[in-house]
Symmetry: C2
Subunit: 555 residues, 2 copies
Amino acid sequence: MAKKTKLKMIPLGGLHEIGKNMTVFEYGNNIILVDCGSAFPDEEMPGIDLVIPDITYLRKNKEKIRGIVLTHGHEDHIGALPYVLQEINVPIYGTRLTLGIVEHKLKEFHLQDIAQLRVVSPGDRVHLECFVVEFIRSNHSIADAVALAIHTPVGIVIHTGDFKIDTTPIQGEMIDLTRLGELGKEGVLALCMDSTNVERAGYTMSERTVGMSFRDIFKDCEKRIIIATFASNIHRVQQIIDAAARNKRKVAISGRSMINVISVANELGYINIPSNVLIDLEEINRYPANKVVLITTGSQGEEMSALTRMAFSDHKKVEITAKDLVVISANPIPGNEKLISRVVNELFKKGAEVIYESSLAEVHVSGHACQEELKLIMALTKPQFFVPVHGEYRHLCIHKELSELMGISPQDSFIMDNGKVLEFSFDSAKINGSVPAGKVLVDGLGVGDVGNIVLRDRKHLAQDGLIVAVISLSGDNGELIQEPDIITRGFVYVRESEDLMEQMRDVVCDAVFHSVNKKARDWNSLKSSVKNQLGQFIYDTTKRSPMILPVIVEI
Amino acid sequence: MAKKTKLKMIPLGGLHEIGKNMTVFEYGNNIILVDCGSAFPDEEMPGIDLVIPDITYLRKNKEKIRGIVLTHGHEDHIGALPYVLQEINVPIYGTRLTLGIVEHKLKEFHLQDIAQLRVVSPGDRVHLECFVVEFIRSNHSIADAVALAIHTPVGIVIHTGDFKIDTTPIQGEMIDLTRLGELGKEGVLALCMDSTNVERAGYTMSERTVGMSFRDIFKDCEKRIIIATFASNIHRVQQIIDAAARNKRKVAISGRSMINVISVANELGYINIPSNVLIDLEEINRYPANKVVLITTGSQGEEMSALTRMAFSDHKKVEITAKDLVVISANPIPGNEKLISRVVNELFKKGAEVIYESSLAEVHVSGHACQEELKLIMALTKPQFFVPVHGEYRHLCIHKELSELMGISPQDSFIMDNGKVLEFSFDSAKINGSVPAGKVLVDGLGVGDVGNIVLRDRKHLAQDGLIVAVISLSGDNGELIQEPDIITRGFVYVRESEDLMEQMRDVVCDAVFHSVNKKARDWNSLKSSVKNQLGQFIYDTTKRSPMILPVIVEI
């Protein structure tokens, strides 16, 4: 490799957004991929199930890719794997729990047999051609998370993945600050760091504080306790199980993803369930209220989740009553506030006691580092260059400002964007060019077949509905053979709008009459004049703009 | 009136929701209406502009209604007036600013000439047949708000409207606690109180604290300052103008509703603008950055608002640069979090400094009372019965619990619902029956013509789009005359899905062929078999369920 070869860092997701994290590191003929995440669709994407990164660049450079390295098992870091793997089947490296969760996911796509999963442990170093990837123990809201030190021909790049500093973690140890400090002494070329919580001053509390709240809540509680939390938060689940066992309560699990993750974690020994504690959901009614705890999904008020179904009396096995204490052990992900609020109101209607965001009890802590933790990592690693990642634009800006406080000069810190190429030599860094990047929408089985036009039409249809005008014309003279038919959906309640329907038919007749007189058989111009005239009439009459579809049948 | 006549309190809106506040008080042949508000549509109501209460009950009892009494000029208290007034034209009582805003609104509907607006002042008592309505000075995030003491034949009912206790208000005086205390001594039958902030402990800060933050922000600031806030918050606007004048800055106003409210407030003397401070928006570029303040709408990230257009470079007169400091002087209304976050990110991209929710500066305070204030009002008025109003279900429950702390026994406090009838005698209260109540949706010019079926169709269309199958059949033998035509919108990108389109045509042909063989000319059964077979095929192929519209043309 020529001396002048540059290391390229190319984020394909995770910049200017929270979600679908994926970063390319490229040196000469070698590429490694850090994480392979998906994102949730936003309100501008009706009907979409999932968003994944555009991997055009990976597709074009397939033969260079040496492996995919995973930092942890959250969807925004592994959710795109089933889609990427179908095109790019390279070895996947991750810790035991991370790959346990990946394996489970791949089974749903019948991909488990083709996948090359390689388990690593914190402290391990993996050689991938010119890269050596070192896995560093970390703390996050899922067990077995790691940060990465990527040893490259031009220097060491540290990628934190998602992290916090937890001095009293539930299982395992604190993030390996010593190793990060050693790397700092050795010399770190660049630090790529999680920006999710950069707006918050101070420190993120330890996961253990939530356990102390659970202890208080469980003590002398005579009610059945139902706790909703993120399925992947194994440590939260462990603390609930511990509190239950201490109080001689049985634990039942509800919600598909909760059952999946707990069974994977249990198989792999990441969760410690005392014998005789777990009971089947069917059995809960055999025990008195104060002898049962239910751990469930639905902490975000998701429509089909177990807790939501319980709240709306739509769950087959669990009925909420005044004998229940429901704890929502999570903060709302932005955008979910109203969904959660709806569920809380329903729980109150059933007479349940509810501990949620507005309550004083500390029943949730974040998994992401706040400002003081971020500064600590900068101080330990002393990077030459700084690249804030995992954040919306404002998070990246604020993170850059924070790095200035730590002595990193503004020209050495880079606000990247998905697709932008950041080139490093051993003593320089600059943004140089870009590669294709963006959102690929997954809708049902379709990957990428829903784009802007389809979304625009969906939003238009949602706003004011649809009017189909069926026009049967004579092939001989282009005249109407029968009265136009008007079909509407999502526009008005037709039975109470007969007059309007009649008027619309008249407008269409009129449009056809005049159009035919001008230019017979030019169906396109006829269509657009029906669209315009009917559209204008409807807007004048109702101030609405439904989608208008003229259908011409030539006979 | 017979001694046994009961006072009825019937909320038609504002219960189990935040918004569209409207309450009926009825005694014998007399009705008064407190407030007449609208609500914002939620995500379950695509395309809807506004939600107003169902006024069937008022329509039926038209001749009994003696007047509409308004507590203040916010949309959730006056927004339904233009619609209600067209059917029920009774005198409307409110303070000067409230009616100034109402008048402006009625002009947009060309109703100003028929409306009977009656200005009152705090302290006034208005006789409406058997009711005497006393207007009591209050504090809220809009000037000239009042609480009501409704003197009825069975006792005094206090309705707080929206309120807080501000010991240092910007204009006028503190809420008239003395008068509330006097009424308490006299004996209060029932207290109906604002529940919006009941989840929050402590006190709501004074509006004046925001002014102190503005003072700090303006001091030595070399940037142009742009402040977004609620148009109706006259006191906030006053404080911005004061800070500007003190710092020799000119003030320009942007956003239609901001201009409207400020001009009404200015005309009526509710705002004090020193001469030579106000400039036209066109003129801002004639002044150096540190000599200008812009007050704008858009604090909720609303799509068409002035601030959003500025952020997205879509505003004709204002361009955001690194020389701008943008202050978002408002908290997100639940559901608007992501909209605001999007605007903040865009402002950061333009290099602007932004002070927003996550910043440490206190640039907003609520207009609603927290727990300690609510308790104070209970302690002063000592009501026999308590009715928490203006809140979602959980707010009402928590408010009821709070009232228990204050010595009101649970059976004397009532969790109402829209349409429920609460009957009072001088020493008793009970829920007895109900009247029609609910949501009436306003879409363009249509009021109530969009109901559940139309909304369901809009949501269906938004999820997976639409497929129209045009089938031309012979009137003689019911056979296909030409190949079916398939039109899709919001389903897939058609140009890249030719195969799928071809297969869909085949499925339709097949359905017609088999259906015709079975039962010729039964177009309804043909339609449903096309729907079923095409729907099943599409689901199996794509895991999507678009709306399917078979159009049959008989020739």
